[in-house]
């Protein structure tokens, strides 16, 4: 049954973000702020970088603020972080990504000013940005969210989000797939991967895909076929999931931007589940020195090794 989700705090959150942005920009604490602003269509939102205190009034927070802005602070987008201390508006899931980047020495905590957002959820699709946020229109990642209220930020508005108890969409789908035979799973993924057009939107939008040269772009030796055809597609998606294992923060941007609607985050969630079971690792707000696949213990499970 479709039920609306309480987003009444978002107006107060918007006001709080604006006041804080105004203050830190005019005091010169930061040189710029990455946030969300209203776009041209009614109800829509887009990322914006502001550097003038007057522009603080442009900032908003609505259910259409889907983007993970952490990607603008990575190496892949070199221009922005160079201009001094940067403010950034982050939801809980985005903050997990930023913590991951700090753990991988891509960012320094002292170089960023975190404006955390109490978030009750965002839309799955912004095709109709003015849609009301309901249990149907909410992004699947928000149904499994444990980070409605970011912690450890420099500023968090005082509002508390009302977390609705929702059916966990990824967990249910993973359970369904795990119950199938390998041949059935292969058929499922073969169909999904065959849709891929190799646009690499999933890679470009991912905060963790910051390699200067991607393994999948190299052609000497060519490890992954670059053409959008079945073998190369399958290899790309397996390699992508493997490279994000133990790092993915679960912002599900890959899945949101995929023009062919491939359930990419399903692979990421599955890997997260396995890492939780094997090495008790979960993406969180804490900055870890080493990810689960960069470390080891002598007692790690080796029941699969002869």
């Amino acid at each position: 049954m479709t039920k609306p989700i309480d987003t009444s705090i978002y107006t107060a959150v918007t006001d709080a973000i604006r006041t804080e942005a105004q203050r830190i920009l005019s005091e010169g604490q930061v040189s710029a702020i990455v946030g969300y602003a209203a776009a041209r269509r009614k109800g829509s939102a887009q990322p914006i970088v502001i550097s003038q205190p007057d522009d603080a009034a442009k900032l908003i927070f609505t259910p259409a603020c889907v983007n993970n802005l952490a990607v603008y602070l990575t190496k892949a987008k070199k221009e922005i972080p160079k201009s001094g201390k940067i403010g950034i508006v982050v939801k809980g899931c985005d903050l997990k990504a930023l913590s991951g980047l700090m753990g991988e020495s891509q960012l320094k905590r002292e170089d960023i000013y975190l404006i955390g957002v109490p978030c009750a959820g965002v839309l799955a699709s912004t095709v109709q940005p003015a849609t009301e946020l309901t249990t149907d229109s909410i992004a699947p990642k928000c149904t499994e969210c444990d980070a409605h209220l970011p912690t450890g930020c420099d500023f968090v508005p005082a509002q508390t989000p009302v977390a609705a108890d929702l059916e966990k969409k990824y967990a249910a789908e993973i359970t369904r797939l795990e119950a199938l035979t390998p041949a059935e799973r292969w058929a499922y993924w073969k169909e999904q991967f065959s849709k891929c057009i190799k646009c690499y939107a999933c890679r470009q939008v991912c905060p963790f895909c910051f390699c200067e040269q991607c393994l999948c772009d190299r052609n000497k030796p060519q490890m992954v076929d670059t053409t959008p055809r079945p073998a190369g597609n399958t290899a790309w998606h397996i390699v992508r999931a493997m490279h994000l294992a133990g790092r993915c923060a679960g912002c599900a941007e890959c899945e949101r931007v995929c023009p062919m609607d491939i359930p990419l985050n399903l692979l990421n969630r599955k890997m997260a589940k396995e890492l939780k079971e094997l090495y008790d690792h979960e993406a969180g707000f804490e900055v870890l020195d080493k990810g689960p696949l960069n470390m080891f213990t002598e007692k790690d499970d080796q029941s699969f090794i002869k």
Partner: protein, 166 residues
């Protein structure tokens, strides 16, 4: 000394990624000790199991391997101190990923074989070869590759009829 050669209808291709310090030396010992093991295995030597990228396994399957063996030093014996510990975690996770995508894990074997374990090498290789032989050829990745070619699968009735008329 040589046991009588048995004829099989299917000879699987097994790719073995091995570490140079332990398993390669172990395989060498099996050879110099004149132990017999299936010639289906193609050994690829790496400095360490930590050097073996999961993408190599993927590539092997894509290029027509029916089974893959990854083998290195026992935990604690790594020439580079911790390479095999890292590999152990990486492959534990990679296995789970392949399983989720639908690859039969019986085709993928991991083992620790030290330089003194020529006998264990023979045992591991024989077991995997026989297991894969019983399973038949690995078709999943080959079919994907075939789909990439114009002359690939003839799957529509019209095409099949036209082909049969030639």
């Amino acid at each position: 000394m040589h046991s009588e050669k048995q004829k099989h209808t299917f000879e699987p291709k097994i790719i073995a990624f091995v570490c140079t310090w332990c398993t390669y030396a172990g395989a060498d010992l099996a050879g110099t000790s004149r132990m017999q093991y299936p010639s289906n295995v193609r050994v690829l030597k790496f400095p360490c199991t930590g050097r073996i990228d999961p993408v190599f396994i993927l590539k092997a399957f894509q290029q027509g391997a029916d089974g893959v063996l990854v083998s290195g030093c026992h935990p604690g014996d790594c020439h580079y101190i911790a390479g095999n510990f890292h590999a152990r975690r990486r492959f534990a996770v990679f296995r789970k990923l392949l399983e989720f995508v639908g690859v039969d894990l019986n085709r993928l074997q991991f083992s620790w074989v030290s330089a003194a374990e020529g006998g264990k090498w023979v045992e591991v290789v024989t077991d995997l070869t026989e297991k894969v032989r019983a399973m038949g050829p690995m078709t999943e990745f080959k079919e994907l590759a075939m789909e990439e070619q114009w002359s690939g699968a003839i799957d529509t009735p019209e095409l099949k009829e036209a082909y049969n008329q030639i």
